[in-house]
Symmetry: C2
Subunit: 107 residues, 2 copies
């Protein structure tokens, strides 16, 4: 066993879970915040800033990228990662909705 049964859940629930999964590691939260604080950002900065190996940072970046929360563009020699505002807004809404829709009608 041990296989997540994603197929038995609704699209919406899986979506919320996917976003949450990306945010469920402090390194990725820290990376997103750091990128958003900078004018431009290269991966090597992150290695220094976060304190994990370069390979590990790259893996985390990849998971964030798969969700579409960041995009990389080359600026001269360096790859510049930036927040993807469109996706960010969408996912912010998705979460906002989820939190908002809960009712407290019990106990």
């Amino acid at each position: 066993m041990g296989v997540s049964k994603t197929h038995i859940f609704s699209e919406k629930h899986n979506q919320v879970a996917s976003v949450a999964k990306v945010l469920s590691h402090p390194a990725r939260v820290a990376i997103l915040e750091y990128i958003s604080r900078q004018e431009g950002c290269i991966c090597n900065d992150l290695v220094d800033e976060i304190g994990l190996a370069q390979a590990t940072i790259s893996q985390h970046l990849n998971e964030i990228k798969k969700l579409g929360l960041i995009k990389g563009t080359f600026e001269g020699k360096n790859l510049c990662y930036c927040i993807n505002q469109g996706t960010w807004d969408t996912l912010q809404n998705l979460f906002g909705e989820f939190f908002q829709n809960v009712k407290f009608n019990c106990c």
Copy 2:
């Protein structure tokens, strides 16, 4: 290897990650939504509604409970799980802040 290095991250980043972790499985998202939709709620309903084994639902409930997002009170024979509004509001703010604070000053 394989040990998450939570100690190298800030309190805030670890907090956001912990909340996200609980929401990172569709079953838990579905459970929270279902509980919030009901007047009162017993675990057996969840087993039918979600479609996972009773033991598995119980485990998921426990993880949500550890975060303080739900609380259980007995109503006669049944244990009634409800959203813990205080914690819910706090965590909603934590997330709202995180999403809000990101700036798009690049690319």
